[in-house]
Symmetry: C3
Subunit: 267 residues, 3 copies
């Protein structure tokens, strides 16, 4: 069921346009390539509209933002809206500084993204909640089920709040995912890489645009990535080899194994 | 024969000044270090002329370009021309957007690079051809032998169009290389890394400037990188471990093994 | 003794704000995560003051500088000074261009960093000495003991000049460290990663601000990193796998092993 989505990504090889942070650039590109998608990074105002229009999905990530990049994100977002290209937003570190919070609010205002992928505290901040964001690692009390659902309804999209347990919701139905591995928090930009991967799955879902498909595609992307992480953990010796093993596992991941290892429940 | 060039790179340790894209920065630097060269990245208008003048080669890569970087590339290019420093251009994604195509044309106009290293479609685009460039992964019909030779004559330099089969030409003589491994396309920035490595080999060739030497140096750099990739493939489990194994293999690569594994023919 | 500092870093997980170069971004973040610290990268003038104020340490690295980044470094530096946040400076490639030398002088002038971590030639350049800096790999004649001590007194801080043998001094006491592995020079940004790690250790030391603690914390960070490198070398096959093994080793490094492997002597 979820494995089918991975199979479709491999068959269709969607082009994913990323305007992402400097830390994540390489690993996000490698994650997309390992999954069979095709990454492109472009941030110049001179070309983002054209690149976003040509892509299967646009992924925006504010991890190392600055004004010129934010302007380019808005141009790309508008172009994506004009061309029916789904947009994924990763609000890295929102709440850590006023600037990040303002930028995230701007990116939610005119052309809201179809999907938001953040950690629990970031999602809480986006809904005016009380998540505590320290730097780009966020800590939050409980699962932000209500916040995520409320935000998803506001977007008419899907919100994924990831952590030891993930919440994915379209505001009506909410799934809980318990795959993954703690070492994902000991390698930088794994969340950013996952957001890029969400873009690949959503690009495929967008060919038959039904909201339900987007929800399932996002769940499938999270499960695929996290099952790969579980496989990687079994062969890695620490966070350095885990990082390489994660890409290996994602590349070889069998759709049937995604389905058999998936720990998804509906709330 | 080709292995001798690798040996000279290790002995001379040329300084290679890269103005490259964000995705490739780290892996290009690691590729140069593994081969025994010395990388430096610098992109500020305030220092690129001085850095290029001090380098053995200048490598320009438009993978994540923006206007200030393009201006710096032109300054560096002019400084390289004044100081006899050879320039390598990697026209990443040319044809994917009008901006990239315009920038590539600018970088070819006043101080043409000595070497261009791109994929087949990018080379076709540079010659006004019909390559289809989608994002930064290009797909082209056949080998761009005529396009590459025409472009090389225009540059009075060398053009390398890489892919499953590589074409390297100075416009008079054309070599065909069949080394490498498909996993090179499942790791990001391997083409960019190869362009950086071309810089190291050309820096060494430039000590005795004969066009013929440049041609052989470029062939030697491609063969060295691709034979290392073949060795890496033999020990890697997927694209993640392949990436690390490629650097290991390049570091340990024996000149005699380069020559015995080289699959080079002249067209 | 030194291992205790590593233990404290793991227990306290300090937030380290890095304004660093593009090549080092990912590996510096991974180094901090492997050691148990929490990295954040932020360079926009709009947010660096707030981020630096919230951090346990601020690490400035001029490896790929440009004017807007230097302005942000100065803003962050001033904010760190106001909030009692210790600052580490890595003067990458100072002396290689006039611009780098001027920027380093600016960063030393108004709010001098508490710690400088560079190679021997960079430290010599900062003291007006005669180190030869070619690109970002520096070569110097002997150990810069006097230069480092003089610079440390000027800062009222600590200077670490690293290389095959490291010198760490507060201007009164000087330690010599002989740990590490030559492959650290065949992987890019290991020096930059070490500077980031120094930030984590200094953040912990800053909770009880005594100059003596800073000196010991810096020594402990160098020894921890270099003992991890020695362990990594024992299992790696080349610079690619060494890089991953270094992160693995840092993650698993036992404080007792740091102390038993430490090769520190006082001059």
């Amino acid at each position: 069921m979820y494995g089918e989505w991975l199979e479709r990504v491999r068959q269709e090889g969607p082009l994913v346009h990323n305007i992402t942070n400097y830390v994540a650039m390489q690993i996000a590109a490698n994650t997309l390539l390992a999954a069979g998608a095709s990454p492109v990074m472009a941030h110049a105002a001179e070309e983002v509209e054209e690149m976003a229009a040509a892509a299967g999905a646009l992924v925006l990530n504010i991890g190392t933002l600055e004004p010129a990049w934010v302007d380019a994100m808005e141009l790309a977002q508008a172009s994506a809206a004009r061309h029916g290209v789904p947009v994924v937003l990763d609000p890295v570190g929102v709440g850590a500084t006023r600037y990040r919070t303002e930028v995230a609010a701007r990116l939610l205002s005119i052309h809201p993204p179809l999907v938001i992928r953040g950690n629990a505290a970031e999602v809480a901040v986006l809904t005016g909640g009380t998540g505590i964001v320290r730097g780009v690692d966020a800590h939050s009390g409980g699962l932000p089920v209500d916040e995520a659902a409320s935000l998803a309804r506001r977007l008419a999209g899907v919100v994924a709040a990831t952590g030891p347990v993930d919440i994915v919701t379209d505001g009506r139905r909410t799934a809980r995912i318990e795959n993954g591995d703690p070492w994902l928090t000991r390698v930088t930009a794994t969340g950013c890489s996952l957001s890029a991967l969400v873009g690949a799955f959503v690009a495929v879902a967008n060919r038959e645009p039904r909201q339900d498909d987007t929800l399932l595609a996002v769940i499938a992307s999270l499960v695929s990535f996290e099952v790969a992480a579980e496989q990687a953990r079994a062969v890695a010796h620490g966070p350095g080899t885990f990082h390489a093993a994660l890409l290996d596992a994602l590349y070889h991941l069998r759709p049937a194994d995604v389905d058999s290892a998936a720990r998804v429940s509906w709330i």
